[in-house]
């Protein structure tokens, strides 16, 4: 992959990002920079706006105020033509996989290649096999998503996200609900893509073990703001009681006191504002 033109600057720069859905304030002034080739992990309790933040980066949501810049381009100002070119940079894996359920696994993974690249069908076939191999899926090409287990669907979603070798990978809880071995495997693939191809990676997770494994840096979001950001070793030693509570998974602590959401089970509640009050953006 060629060196990005502005390699000295941040790949992704989020400044003072605010977003509310109706009366509910989800992002309350997020500032965050991601350097080219960096792997940033965002952690935080449920309903703290992590998914919403990710959707702003790729332009699925528009900020109320503030800016999101990718390679120096303001995402919210892109026109219809530019946005196609812009989206080519990204691969995104969604929480539940978000596979197209009318298509086979093969067609799902081939979809971004057909849409975003000029590969021949031979090359597409090879690449699809390669990506499915990376997530250790075999003999599933002709199956429909409904015939797969949740974990397998998630892995297909992961394969689809990385298929066209994007510059930036966004992972929305790539390992939630997977067994520890598969989790370690996915983490390895993320670390490998990040190390070998210098892919900029932005991962949302609840899994602290994963976070420490794949992150060059970990940021914690709470009540719509970034409250801490540090490399893993340092992050572990941060004295902020909210960070410590999250790392160690205590039920009692500052996070539970001021936010009843934080006590709910993460895997069930995460989608909260993003799905319940999805605002219908205008073009």
């Amino acid at each position: 992959m060629s060196e990005p033109p502005n390699s000295g600057r941040s790949k992704i720069a989020i400044r003072d990002l605010h977003k509310s859905f109706g009366p509910k304030l989800v992002l309350d002034g997020v500032d965050l920079e991601v350097a080219p080739g960096e792997s940033l992990v965002i952690i935080g309790g449920s309903g703290t706006g992590k998914s919403v933040l990710l959707k702003h980066v790729v332009g699925l949501l528009k900020p109320d105020t503030g800016t999101v810049e990718v390679d120096g381009m303001a995402v919210e100002k892109l026109g219809n033509r530019e946005i196609t070119e812009f989206r080519r940079k990204f691969g995104m894996a969604f929480q539940e996989g978000a596979l197209f359920d009318s298509m086979t696994v093969w067609r799902n993974v081939a979809f971004p290649l057909q849409r975003l690249t000029r590969m021949s069908s031979q090359e597409i076939g090879d690449r699809v096999s390669e990506c499915l191999g990376l997530v250790r899926l075999e003999a599933v090409e002709e199956k429909l998503p409904s015939q797969l287990s949740g974990g397998m669907r998630r892995r297909v979603g992961f394969a689809r996200a990385i298929a066209h070798s994007p510059e930036i990978l966004l992972f929305d809880e790539p390992t939630t609900g997977l067994d520890p071995v598969t989790t370690a495997l996915i983490d390895e693939v993320i670390v490998d893509l990040n190390g070998r191809l210098k892919t900029t990676t932005l991962t949302i997770t609840h899994d602290m073990e994963s976070a420490f494994r794949i992150g060059d840096r970990i940021a914690m979001i709470h009540k719509g703001k970034i409250i801490a950001s540090a490399p893993p070793a340092e992050f572990r030693r941060l004295e902020d009681p909210r960070v410590q509570q999250f790392i160690h998974g205590h039920a009692e602590g500052p996070l539970s006191e001021d936010d009843p959401q934080a006590q709910k089970k993460p895997s069930e509640q995460e989608a909260g504002p993003a799905l319940e009050e999805m605002p219908w953006r205008k073009r």
Partner: protein
């Protein structure tokens, strides 16, 4: 001043409908043209609706024959049963009934399908992969329905007239030759066209409304249920109201 929720909801829906309509027309001429998807939708919406449209129009034609016979006999005009059945089928009933039936069958399916895609983030996934969901999902569905509904109505016209014929000739002993003769005696091409134009408009409306309801789904499985219901309800009302204005316009 705060508007009541129902009023606000009505205008929100109306605004979204016109916005979606604009997007449909803007995206339609742009490549890539997905002919195979268009064909697939035409089969789903049109071909698969043949049995239910067949039955509906057959029996409606029969009922029309029974009813017009009862009424026309009172004024000694029972020889005009054929004209009554044929004209009402062609001008009005085939189009409206097929529209309502297809709204229940295909419009609801569109609401449910797109709604599920919305709540499972498949629509977001499409956008991330540089694929406009209106272009990819809505455009083929809307045009497939707009093309297929008039074709279903052509069939429905014939079947309805056949239903009337069977009732009149078999049950009520009408003269078959004069029945057929009367059926077409007062009909002209405009009657046929007005029915087909109505059908095309209904097809566009029911598909666009079904897609719109699905597209703006929120709130998980319950939300998909709501979208499916309102796809049928809103489309049916839209068909009946637009029918009035189309009839005024096309007389």
């Amino acid at each position: 001043m705060k508007l009541p929720d129902a009023v606000e909801g009505f205008f929100l829906n109306l605004g979204r409908f016109f916005q979606l309509m604009g997007q449909i027309f803007a995206w339609t001429p742009r490549p890539p043209y997905d002919w195979s998807e268009l064909l697939r939708q035409m089969v789903r919406v049109g071909f698969n609706s043949i049995p239910v449209v067949f039955l509906t129009t057959l029996f409606t034609g029969g009922v029309m024959a029974l009813q017009t016979f009862t009424v026309l006999r009172r004024i000694n005009a029972e020889s005009f049963v054929g004209s009554g059945v044929a004209l009402s089928m062609v001008r009005e009933l085939a189009a409206v009934l097929s529209g309502l039936i297809v709204a229940g069958r295909a419009g609801s399916a569109m609401g449910a399908e797109l709604g599920t895609m919305r709540v499972t983030e498949q629509i977001d996934a499409l956008e991330v992969m540089a694929t406009d969901p209106v272009h990819y999902l809505v455009v083929p569905r809307v045009w497939a329905t707009t093309i297929m509904l008039p074709l279903l109505v052509v069939m429905g016209n014939g079947v309805g007239i056949l239903g009337g014929y069977m009732v009149a000739v078999v049950i009520m002993d009408a003269n078959p030759v004069s029945y057929v003769d009367k059926s077409f005696q007062f009909m002209d091409v405009n009657d046929l066209f007005s029915g087909l134009i109505k059908a095309a408009v209904f097809g566009f409306l029911l598909a666009a409304i079904g897609c719109q309801q699905g597209f703006y789904t929120s709130g998980g499985a319950e939300g998909v249920g709501r979208s499916t219901t309102s796809a049928v309800v809103v489309a049916s009302i839209a068909i009946l109201i637009s029918d009035f204005f189309l009839t005024r316009l096309l007389f």
